[in-house]
């Protein structure tokens, strides 16, 4: 029997503030130029539940859904138009799209009725109704709906005149397509046909790879084996999907493993690189590990071999650290892309080793196009402002709702990110060394162990995510590649995993991310030597999925658990108690093959050896030609105060407070250095510091280095500089370099994340591919040199190789970008140093040397110039300085320390005054440098630090020539910079802070005036 459909609508009582309505009206006017008049919002729930009487419905609506203080409730026919509103927009969700609000309402209904309501069938559908005062035409309503209120990839909209009646939309349950498995013949296919097949089915495999698959199936022994096992001669759709997923660039890193023939066009030098990963990352870390161990520092426990790297904090616990990107999904659905990015990255440390680490913090680095971009948009391209707002909201919900603090991050703007944004998500976690007597970081699997899927159910969301992110984006991006995250589902699964691990119920675990079960089971099967999956057991969100779709679906919030048969009963009971769905979907074997069955019939059987090692190795060409660059002639000025103001208000320097404050950066109560500090709460910090627990003062410093602009001049120095930036940020907050003394136990754990445009040469579609690949090689060389210089190991990382957006015959490519995300142990977080000036009378120093290196600087960007002389990293000098700063901190000689980066010395000095409103009186030394270079050069490895008068002698004796005394902190609230007797910068620091905190980012997000906490008190 078709259940009765009821509608419940909640509207705000007259006089109640409709904040959502106000925001929609303001945003429509501001971003779309549409005059909506007043906007009123309402929540709508469609209830399809058979046994519900009207009286029960009314009671449920008024007692469970409505807030008696805020809402009026209307039911069914009584849902009548509101007088005074001419137009409406109804925002519903498409079929199969996660509806957490509907699920919550369903939960409430079950509690209300005291019935065990089946929460796996959707009975309640939530929607939002917007009523507009003005009678806007349909086209405008649709634009408002699609650009402000939802995303047509996931939402369904109904718009129109209220007078014509409000049309509703409720998704119907799935259509029940048959669970068919087809075979696809590759026999005799031409090269062209193979390539076309790969493209049509989004396999993202190239010709050589398709040939390898064809040849594997054509081989006599494959044929014989398949015949013997009763398998069809041709590959099944499921087998091809598994191969495509396993061999995808996303999962296999084929370009980082390729043979590269490199040629420097200027010098004629040629060399062959046998895998970027092996040469510059893995081998470099092995060498670092050797040096560490030689010096009694054996804290490097797990590198490159699991979901996340692990280092030892102390005898009892490990620190687990992972950073990934989620770029392609964020380009087409910014909110969904970012939230699944966070949740997906969280699952990596959660499911490292046995699994069950406690998450400690998140950090996010985002690259966007200019949000004020006013050029044309290509088909399928979202405006940078929308991407920024959607990604920001996704991070807010992904972090906050998981109870994981977002302790720091960065936002980089460059118009080349307007096609594909970069969304880097990092998560740190703490894991005990042992669970129930077993080493927590080990993944052990034996034949006979059960395969258990835990968490969310499987739908069509995220099908082809792994292969889709391995190709460039174009206007035909598949809607099914979008995944919708449900932080609450994951939180339940996470709580469960923590407890299951501590009770010794898990042998190990992994997450279901890109590639879904195909990837997680396929990889785990490599440990035992095989696996059998019974696909019909996998719980679905709705019927109508083909077997191959079930296997590769990337539906979120799922873990794959490995469980000894004897532990199953206890595990299942715990899952039931904690309301986490667990399903036994098969077992591990050691027969060398991955078997996938549906209803007892084989849908795939693949030899693991071919699956994991059969992909042909790529050979790629790289050619380096140094870009032609010249230094601009910018007339010297005598007063740079206005220049400083312009820099403080520049997109890449201005305050991100409106973004930062919407992230919870202190849940868990362990955050010691937050993104913004000081009495004003507005002084920007260089790195976060988080303590591990409440019993000790041990903690970790977290930083991010990213400098894509410099790559236009010198890819090597860009990469080296990014690495140094992250190191010096940790030094600035009081961290120390590793391995300086035997057995000091100061762990460092670094993730590298390369995001580059398509770097595979193709004369037609990628004519400058060789140059791009050469840049990538140089970036990797810098990475190797940096790890060796500082003795800092990489523990995990990721590469994203196709960051291009193509539509309407136009390609927008990101600049080659690398992010180094660093963590380092802090022995005592109470000794952390913050960036803001503390007391008048303290002496201000510049630490490190300034060079004439304005190339790629924000100062040049202000003048529309790039310049030539890019900042160079001088590793030996930098290491010596960082070592001295560590010694100064041991003696508690430093009161504040801020690293110099965008905008150079002038910006750093200004920012250091923002915490309390102190002034500073500074005299620049006589050097051979121009005034502009002294103020704005972005030379690396430098700091502004302050020292209490009593410590000046000791500090200068220690730092010697590495510290240049600039002046003192003052109580007059003025920043005064003099050079050769002349004032070259002079301004009240409150005014500078105002300029900085009312910059374009805070303006964009609608923060009119950000008054700081307690800023007028305390003097």
């Amino acid at each position: 029997m078709e259940p009765t459909t009821h509608t419940i609508q909640l509207t705000l009582k007259p006089g109640q503030h409709d904040g959502d309505g106000h925001r929609v009206a303001a945003a429509a006017a501001r971003h779309l130029g549409l005059a909506t008049g007043r906007v009123r919002t309402a929540a709508r729930y469609t209830v399809r539940y058979g046994a519900l009487s009207t009286e029960q419905l009314r009671a449920f609506a008024t007692r469970c859904l409505a807030d008696p203080v805020l809402h009026d409730v209307t039911l069914n026919e009584a849902v009548a138009p509101v007088p005074g509103f001419a137009a409406y927009i109804l925002v519903a969700r498409g079929p199969g799209v996660t509806d957490d609000e509907g699920t919550s309402a369903q939960n409430a209904l079950a509690d209300f009725l005291n019935e065990p309501l089946d929460t796996h069938t959707q009975h309640i559908f939530s929607k939002r109704l917007y009523l507009l005062e003005n009678d806007l035409p349909t086209a405008d309503l649709r634009r408002l709906a699609e650009e402000l209120l939802g995303n047509k990839m996931i939402n369904r909209f109904e718009v129109g005149r209220v007078a014509d009646g409000i049309r509703d939309y409720t998704p119907r349950p799935g259509g029940g397509a048959e669970a068919i498995t087809e075979t696809i013949s590759l026999t005799g296919l031409s090269d062209g046909a193979l390539v076309q097949l790969s493209k049509d089915n989004i396999y993202a495999l190239n010709l050589e790879e398709m040939r390898a698959v064809r040849d594997y199936y054509a081989a006599a022994d494959t044929q014989a084996t398949r015949r013997a096992q009763g398998l069809p001669a041709d590959p099944t759709d499921c087998e091809l999907e598994i191969i495509a997923q396993t061999w995808s660039e996303h999962c296999k890193h084929k370009e980082f493993s390729a043979v590269i023939n490199y040629r420097d066009l200027a010098t004629g030098e040629e060399k062959q690189i046998d895998s970027l990963f092996k040469t510059y990352i893995k081998d470099a870390t092995s060498e670092v590990d050797r040096q560490l161990r030689a010096n009694g520092n054996d804290w490097l426990v797990k590198v490159f071999s699991d979901n996340a790297g692990a280092v030892r904090i102390n005898a009892d616990s490990l620190f687990v650290w992972k950073v990934e990107t989620h770029n392609s999904p964020s380009a087409i659905d910014p909110y969904g892309g970012a939230i699944t990015g966070i949740l997906g990255n969280n699952r990596d440390p959660l499911a490292t080793g046995i699994g069950g680490a406690r998450l400690l913090f998140n950090t996010n680095v985002l690259c966007f196009g200019n949000p004020d971009y006013d050029g044309p948009l290509l088909t399928g391209q979202l405006h940078p402002r929308r991407i920024l707002e959607g990604v920001r909201k996704g991070i807010e919900d992904g972090g906050n709702k998981s109870g994981v603090p977002t302790v720091n991050g960065a936002i980089v703007f460059d118009d080349r990110y307007r096609g594909k944004p970069l969304v880097y998500c990092g998560t740190g976690a703490v894991m005990p060394m042992q669970f129930a007597g077993l080493d927590s970081w080990e993944k052990k699997i034996d034949a006979g162990d059960r395969i258990v899927m835990a968490g969310g159910r499987v739908g069509k969301d995220g099908i082809h995510g792994a292969t889709f992110s391995s190709i460039e984006l174009d206007e035909s991006a598949p809607a099914t590649a979008v995944q919708i995250g449900s932080p609450i589902t994951q939180k339940l699964a996470m709580d469960f995993l923590l407890l299951a691990a501590r009770r010794g119920l898990l042998k190990c675990s992994t997450d279901n991310g890109a590639g879904g079960l195909s990837s997680s089971v396929g990889e785990l099967a490599g440990i035992s030597g095989g696996a059998v999956v019974e696909l019909e057991k996998v719980p679905l969100k709705y019927p109508g999925l083909r077997p191959w779709e079930i296997f590769v679906s990337e539906s979120q919030e799922r873990f794959t658990l490995v469980v000894e048969p004897g532990r199953m009963a206890e595990l299942l009971a715990l899952g039931q108690e904690m309301e986490v769905e667990l399903t036994d979907i098969g077992h591990f074997t050691n027969d060398g093959s991955l078997d996938v069955n549906f209803d007892g019939q084989p849908v795939a059987r693949l030899a693991l050896e071919f699956l994991h090692d059969g992909v042909p190795r790529k050979t790629l060409a790289a050619e380096y030609e140094k870009p032609v660059a010249t230094e601009p002639a910018i007339p010297a000025q005598t007063d740079y105060t206005d220049t400083l103001r312009q820099l403080l208000g520049a997109l890449n320097i201005c305050s991100r407070e409106a973004v930062i404050r919407q992230y919870d950066h202190e849940v868990k109560g362990r955050t010691i250095v937050k993104p913004l500090m000081g009495a004003t709460g507005q002084a920007p910090q260089d790195a976060a510091v988080v303590r591990f627990n409440f019993e000790s003062w041990e903690g970790v410093a977290v930083s991010n280095g990213i400098l894509p602009r410099y790559g236009d001049l010198d890819a090597y120095q860009m990469s080296a500089g990014s690495f140094d930036e992250a190191v010096r940020q940790i030094i600035a907050v009081g961290g120390k370099l590793p391995n300086l003394t035997p057995g000091d136990g100061i762990f460092w754990s670094v993730n590298d994340n390369f995001c580059v445009p398509d770097s595979v040469y193709d004369p037609a579609i990628n004519p400058d591919g060789k140059q791009k690949l050469a840049k990538l090689v140089q970036m990797c060389e810098a990475l190797r040199d940096a790890t060796a210089a500082y003795c800092i190991p990489l523990t995990s990382g990721k590469d994203s190789m196709k960051n291009d957006f193509k539509a309407d015959g136009v390609k927008i490519s990101v600049p080659p970008t690398v992010l180094y995300s660093m963590t380092a142990k802090m022995e005592d977080v109470r000794r952390a140093i913050t960036s803001d000036f503390k007391e008048p009378g303290d002496v201000v120093y510049l630490l490190g040397e300034t060079y004439d290196e304005l190339g790629g600087s924000e100062f040049y960007a202000l003048h529309g110039e790039l310049g030539a002389q890019v900042p160079q990293v001088r590793f030996a000098e930098a290491k010596a300085l960082y070592t001295l700063i560590g010694q100064a901190n041991d003696g508690a000689l430093i009161q504040s320390c801020h690293d110099l980066s965008d905008g150079g010395l002038a910006v750093a000095l200004a920012e250091a005054t923002f915490g309390y409103g102190c002034g500073a009186s500074v005299e620049l030394p006589a050097t051979g440098l121009s005034l502009a270079a002294q103020l704005f050069s972005e030379s690396h490895s430098r700091f502004v630090a302050t020292v209490a008068p009593a410590d000046v002698v000791a500090f200068e004796a220690l730092l010697g020539g590495r510290a240049t005394r600039l002046g003192t902190v003052t109580d007059d609230g003025q920043l005064a910079v003099r050079h050769a007797g002349q004032t070259v910068i002079g301004a009240p620091t409150t005014e500078l802070r105002h300029t900085w905190s009312n910059g374009p980012v805070n303006q964009l997000l609608g923060v009119d005036e950000l008054a700081g906490f307690g800023e007028t008190t305390g003097h």
Binding site: G19, A105, G403, M578, F694, K838, A1011
Partner: protein, 297 residues
């Protein structure tokens, strides 16, 4: 399902004879501040047990074995229907025992027994949606509500609070001004009418107010971060045993949590390393311990 099994064993061994203050901290379904609240109770000298909500709903753990029941912050059930709504609904309607008994019935009994209930952020929202706060009428029906901040945004920022001079709750004993962070999107207290406002004021149930730099109650953003009526950040019931607040005292257990800690410690190197937020937990633990010792003697 205590989060650490040895703690549960510990609790059971001690339960009969020990006079330790026993704090129950609920978790599960999106609650996410349970660890720091448990740490707060422990630092204050109590025995804290983190228990999954279903353990209580299914009868495996009884709230009556504890002295103080705590609803931590977080996003219970995702907060999709409004903060705290689904959890409040579950406590009110889900039958846990014979005769249609609900957990709310147990909580009423718990309060009638002279015990204490604390709700922070999402936990405060739950107590308000349930009607346990402010409970002017004594019949546990919702009288006020908490809804979206006037700014329309979730925000993490530090605020300054003043304790109402007429409050009687032991949680706030001896406190006048307090600095703590808020981290919420739905913290604006709405009091529907003047009569309710008057009644709250008269009894001092609006026990915490957001204040400005001069120390006066304020409706100005950002000192009042959400635009709450009465500038109110926290409520008690008329007994003072039930206390809820939007800000997070458990996020200020250490002096090093404050955004200005570095300068403050420079000025006053000998200052205690404890955070101000811990005082609320010390207050209630001392109060209960005192009651226990009176009973014992």
């Amino acid at each position: 399902m205590a989060q650490d099994s040895q703690e549960l064993v510990h609790k059971v061994q001690l339960s009969a004879q020990d006079s330790a203050v026993r704090a129950l901290v609920l978790t599960g379904f999106g609650i996410n501040c349970e660890e720091e609240i448990a740490a707060a109770y422990r630092l204050a000298g109590a025995q804290a047990t983190i228990v999954h909500l279903n353990q209580v709903l299914h009868g495996a753990v009884s709230i009556h074995d504890f002295d103080v029941l705590t609803f931590p912050g977080g996003f219970s059930f995702g907060d999709d229907l409004g903060s705290g709504v689904v959890l409040a609904n579950k406590l009110r309607y889900r039958q846990t025992g014979p005769g249609g008994r609900t957990l709310l019935d147990d909580i009423k009994q718990f309060v009638a027994d002279g015990k204490f209930v604390l709700g922070i952020c999402n936990g405060f929202q739950v107590l308000v949606k349930l009607g346990l706060l402010p409970n002017l009428g004594g019949d546990v029906t919702p009288e006020v509500t908490l809804t979206h901040n006037a700014s329309g945004r979730y925000e993490d920022r530090w605020v300054r609070l003043r304790v109402h001079p007429r409050t009687t709750t032991p949680f706030l004993k001896g406190l006048d001004v307090l600095e703590v962070p808020v981290r919420h999107g739905e913290g604006r207290l709405v009091v529907p009418d003047a009569a309710t406002r008057g009644a709250l004021e008269a009894a001092g149930l609006n026990c915490l107010s957001y204040i400005d730099a001069a120390g006066d109650g304020t409706s100005e953003y950002p000192h009042n971060p959400n635009g709450a009526d009465l500038n109110c950040a926290g409520l008690t019931d008329p007994t003072g045993q039930v206390f809820g607040l939007m800000p997070h005292p458990e996020a200020f257990l250490s002096a090093f949590n404050h955004p200005d800690w570095a300068r403050r410690r420079r000025q006053n190197p000998g200052a205690p390393e404890e955070g101000e937020g811990l005082r609320i937990f010390r207050n209630i633990v001392e109060h209960i311990a005192q009651k226990h010792s009176v009973l014992a003697s």
